[in-house]
């Protein structure tokens, strides 16, 4: 119970604060869309600008949120019936699925939206717009090439020796603070038995769970951490293109692929908001997303250059009601408590 309270406190604290707000488009625009997203504004900005270039007279207020805070806010607004946003895009897709299941999202249909595969849309109320693998990031100068883990088993092997030099220098998301981290960990627990072994190895070797992609990648670049596990590929690739010391591996046993979920909160879709979704799903939009590393294919040159990861290892996280289990109170409580037990040691 105390843990739950702590967790709720954790969730509640940032609930009223968006991290960044930036306005796109002309100031005197007649129509103004509010886009709330967990995506870093710098990464999505070019795509937004490209969209606005084709829609003069339209402006977008870009609000960058933490995933838990965004879910909390959306859920509250759904309960009161006043929506403060026109578009919500979140990497914590299980939270978006829950919003759809709670009838907090409006329905939209177009040739682009219905063209998506069934696993990337549900009820025509939620759509997967990006392709971002969950990758392992390592420091090229500190991890010798023959020790670079290609699979989770390799990672387990690195951590096995009592005096492993990787002990205490493996980082991953703090899942109680990051909805995305929780989702990756949850999907890992569903995907394979390696998750239990990994947890046990993390616990034994004193792995670090901390917040936020940027901080973790930063830590790897500095050499604080040698390897980071389950890092969102879009951020990792963007950084790796800038800094060659950063190595990226898409695990060959399986690689989770996240498709950020877009919903239209409220009961009605503004046509301009619908047009934004259609743009994201259009070839032009997908090209733009790919250029900003938000649609990463298996053969991206930044990832895994030394080895050829089989395409069949990519596991797309389906936008399906089964993700409701990840949102289940009892489930998440136990999952978080197990997690905390692991990292408390």
């Amino acid at each position: 119970m105390i843990r739950l309270t702590l967790l709720l406190l954790c969730l509640a604290l940032p609930a009223r604060a968006q991290e960044v707000v930036r306005a796109f488009g002309p100031e005197n625009a007649l129509t103004r869309l509010v886009l709330r997203t967990t995506t870093d504004v710098d990464i999505l900005a070019p795509t937004v600008e490209e969209f606005l270039a084709a829609h003069p007279g339209l402006a977008i207020v870009y609000e960058q949120w933490g995933s838990n805070a965004l879910y909390q806010r959306s859920s509250e607004e759904c309960a009161t019936g006043e929506s403060g946003a026109d578009i919500v895009i979140s990497s914590a897709v299980h939270q978006m699925i829950r919003l759809v299941n709670d009838r907090c999202a409006a329905s939209w249909q177009s040739s682009f939206s219905t063209g998506l595969p069934d696993t990337l849309r549900w009820r025509d109320e939620i759509w997967g717009v990006t392709r971002e693998p969950a990758v392992m990031v390592y420091n090229r100068s500190l991890v010798p090439p023959d020790q670079v883990p290609r699979t989770r088993f390799d990672l387990l092997d690195l951590l096995r020796p009592e005096d492993s030099r990787y002990a205490g220098r493996i980082a991953t998301y703090e899942i109680s603070q990051s909805g995305l981290g929780y989702l990756f960990a949850y999907m890992d627990s569903q995907e394979a038995t390696t998750f239990g072994a990994l947890m046990e190895a993390f616990a034994r070797s004193g792995a670090v769970a901390t917040c936020c992609s940027a901080e973790i990648i930063d830590g790897v670049q500095r050499g604080d951490y040698l390897i980071a596990y389950n890092i969102l590929g879009s951020y990792a690739v963007t950084e790796a293109l800038r800094d060659p010391t950063l190595g990226i591996v898409a695990p060959r046993d399986y690689t989770l692929v996240l498709s950020r979920a877009l919903i239209f909160p409220g009961s009605r879709v503004r046509p301009e908001a619908g047009a934004f979704l259609d743009f994201l799903l259009s070839p032009a939009g997908q090209l733009s997303l790919a250029a900003n590393n938000l649609a990463i294919s298996a053969d991206n040159p930044a990832i895994n250059t030394e080895a050829d990861a089989p395409d069949s290892a990519r596991r797309l996280i389906p936008l399906a009601p089964a993700l409701l289990v990840a949102m289940d109170r009892a489930k998440s409580e136990r999952f978080l408590s197990d997690w905390r037990k692991t990292f408390a040691q």
């Binding site: 759809v100 299941n101 709670d102 009838r103 069934d118 549900w122 009820r123 569903q190 399906a320 009601p321 089964a322 409701l324 289990v325 289940d328 109170r329 009892a330 489930k331 136990r334």
Partner: protein
């Protein structure tokens, strides 16, 4: 056939059949459609209720007791099962033994209290966040050392896929129905056409006939139409007989009147040239006699025409022959024809009933009576009686009866000799004979010690 104004007033057979068929199809279609929709709904409900019960059971099975507390480890499989209805939202709730919500949606509609009497799963319809949904409530009993009581699982799902499936089933079934209906219509058209073809053939056969041709229709027709053809044939037979009668009347009249009229004219010519008053008076007297007998001949011929017309067309009814005899005597014609002749009526107490036409019988008897007055010898006796099974209406006179030549010609239509000399006994007999035959009897000529008797002998009728 259908184009004539008379039959236009009533519906054509095809229209009747088509109307009946359309009504049948519409009523049947509506009933079947309703049944189809009900069936589709029931089938979809059953299919998706199974998903619900599967998911709820799997969630209930995932509940375990750890350190005295019920713990739910929500199975993904339950949601994968519910996701088989991919468009529907999912509601779930697990409540502990104390009724507190262990996990899931906190405020789900509860099953109606009346449905909770059974221990098995309870299905109910209720809204889920403003959308109609179907719920199941399942219980699982725990009897552990540290936890005893009932865990309650509620799983619900919105109705999109259910309704879609129900519609799908119904539409598919309706498609089949429509195809079947169209096939029935097509078949019906063919069947009706082939069933009505004999009528068309009949019409063609009738249309192709010579207007004078009144012989029976011999076209082969089905049983149902045979009665119609029979009636038409009967009608044409009657028509032909009447035509014949008319033809006969005309030719008889021409034939029988020509000679007496020529004789009359000859005598009248003689009379105008005669200068001797005595001989002229005699001639005039003869002209008078001739006229009288010509009048009688005309009477007889008309009555024969009447009789022949009536015996074909008049209704048979029960007639008391005594009444006819009485009527003739009471009419008193004999006082004009043969004043002073003695006429007697001989009838008994018992009715003499036959089936026939009173007018025809009266005409026949009157002819016989006049014959007797004209040619017989008084006293004339008119009577009616019963002999065995035969009813008789007879006329008797004291004379020897007609000559052998007349008797031999009896029954002929042309009684040339009689007509020629104005003594038309043969014609009267012939009328009586026709009437007797028409009503199933015959004319009997009898000689006896008392004289000559002619009797219309008919089968007696028990009817009164």
């Amino acid at each position: 056939m259908t184009e004539s104004p008379r039959s236009a007033s009533t519906l054509s057979l095809s229209a009747r059949l088509a109307g009946g068929l359309v009504v049948l199809l519409v009523v049947g279609g509506v009933v079947l459609s309703l049944a189809t929709f009900a069936y589709g709904r029931a089938a979809a409900r059953e299919a998706f209720d199974r998903l619900l019960v599967g998911a709820a059971s799997s969630i209930a099975a995932s509940v375990s007791v750890i350190e005295g507390a019920a713990v739910v480890d929500l199975p993904v499989s339950a949601f994968d099962l519910l996701a088989l209805a991919p468009e529907d939202r999912i509601a779930y709730q697990v409540r502990g033994v104390d009724g507190a919500v262990l996990t899931g949606y906190a405020d789900l509609p509860q099953p109606p209290a009346a449905r909770l009497v059974t221990s098995g799963p309870v299905y109910y319809d209720a809204p889920f966040t403003g959308e109609p949904a179907r719920f199941i409530r399942l219980t699982r009993r725990f009897a552990e050392r540290d936890l005893s009581g009932t865990i309650e699982v509620i799983v619900g799902q919105t109705l999109r896929e259910r309704n879609a499936l129900a519609e799908d089933i119904a539409l598919n079934a309706l498609m089949g129905l429509a195809i079947g209906g169209a096939a029935v219509v097509l078949l019906a058209v063919l069947v009706v056409r082939s069933a009505l073809r004999p009528l068309d053939e009949l019409a063609l056969a009738l249309a192709a006939r010579d207007p004078q041709d009144l012989t029976e229709i011999s076209t082969a027709v089905p049983r149902e139409v045979a009665s119609l053809v029979g009636a038409v044939n009967g009608f044409m037979g009657r028509l032909e007989r009447q035509f014949d009668a008319m033809r006969n009347l005309i030719s008889d009249s021409a034939h029988q009147l020509r000679t007496p009229v020529a004789a009359l004219r000859a005598q009248a010519d003689l009379a105008t040239q005669e200068t001797d008053p005595d001989r002229r008076d005699r001639l005039i007297g003869r002209i008078h006699d001739r006229s009288v007998s010509l009048g009688r001949l005309l009477d007889q011929m008309l009555s024969r025409a009447l009789v022949i017309h009536r015996i074909d067309s008049a209704r048979r009814e029960a007639v008391d022959l005594r009444d006819i005899a009485l009527d003739i005597v009471e009419a008193g014609d004999h006082k004009l024809i043969a004043p002073g002749a003695e006429v007697r009526l001989e009838i008994g107490e018992t009715p003499v009933i036959v089936l026939g036409d009173p007018l025809s019988l009266g005409e026949a008897a009157k002819n016989l009576f006049r014959n007797a007055l004209a040619h017989g010898r008084a006293p004339i006796v008119l009577g009616a009686d019963v002999q065995g099974a035969q009813a008789r209406l007879w006329v008797q006179d004291a004379g020897p009866g007609p000559s052998a030549a007349v008797r031999a010609q009896f029954g002929d239509r042309f009684v040339r000799s009689a007509a020629a000399d104005g003594r038309s006994a043969g014609l009267g007999l012939s009328i009586a004979d026709s009437v007797a035959r028409a009503f199933g009897g015959h004319l009997a000529l009898e000689d006896s010690a008392e004289g000559f008797r002619v009797a219309i002998t008919l089968p007696q009728s028990g009817e009164r």
